[in-house]
Symmetry: C2
Subunit: 140 residues, 2 copies
Amino acid sequence: MFEESLEMIELELSILIRRSTSISSNRKIGNLDRAAYLLLRRIASKGAAGVKVLAGEFKLDVSTISRQAAALEQKGYLYRIPDPLDGRAYTLQITELGTMELNEFKQARLVKIKEMLKDWPDEERKVFGQLLKKFNQTFI
Amino acid sequence: MFEESLEMIELELSILIRRSTSISSNRKIGNLDRAAYLLLRRIASKGAAGVKVLAGEFKLDVSTISRQAAALEQKGYLYRIPDPLDGRAYTLQITELGTMELNEFKQARLVKIKEMLKDWPDEERKVFGQLLKKFNQTFI
DNA sequence: AAAAAATAGTTGTATAATACAATCATATAC
DNA sequence: GTATATGATTGTATTATACAACTATTTTTT
């Protein structure tokens, strides 16, 4: 039972990752990239932060955050607030347009997931969300 | 409750995909690419098949399967069986070396997942696997 | 105070996994 | 026999990421 569950999880995770990252099943929604979505969302929910801090939270290279931020800024979704204490640094803050776009993107995703889970019992949706969260917290 | 679960699922899926596809958390194990793993595994479990069939099953472009197959063949994990009825086609079959490598890769992954889930109750592991499988089946 | 070292962020380059387009050889339809 | 379709491969591009190199600024050391 124990090994069987692990094997199922291992296989289904592989399939999930593959499916979710496939371009044909993960077409861009609106003007937001999938990659930059979490960045914008983080800033919206926890407030402005610098490139280094964000890279640390996401466990991504600073260059990746820098590029995502630049792209979002170019689109008008983020703006920079110079750090008054450090001439090299700034914090990234979301714009009103960014907030709107974020909500749109998020809604579109929710609609999609809602459709996928329309036949699920409420309890299973709840448990799935909780287990996903728990699983994500095992990543260090 | 309903919308809350959807939002949690939506967010946690985003995080999971990001974490799982990040290079730093998904370093290659052995000589098998993550991408080609499912291909090799499919052939091992269901038998030889052609490029077109496999592309259809995986909902990937034939060029992607073709490239993955070529890479696996180059490594000695797959070999080609010409289709006696069609001079253009062949089926891909796994080699003994491929089988061994597949099992090694799979074991390495299982060890990793086992470590991640070491504090989980058995029941949750079981449910997680089942819900993942169920979720994967909603992708069309 | 000046020099050396560290650091915040950007840019260059490369990698991995994928798709669309173009091509070639073979098979099928007319 | 000719035209069309098809299985697979190759060319090119895209996306998201990391490592390396760089610049300007800050901090530490001398």
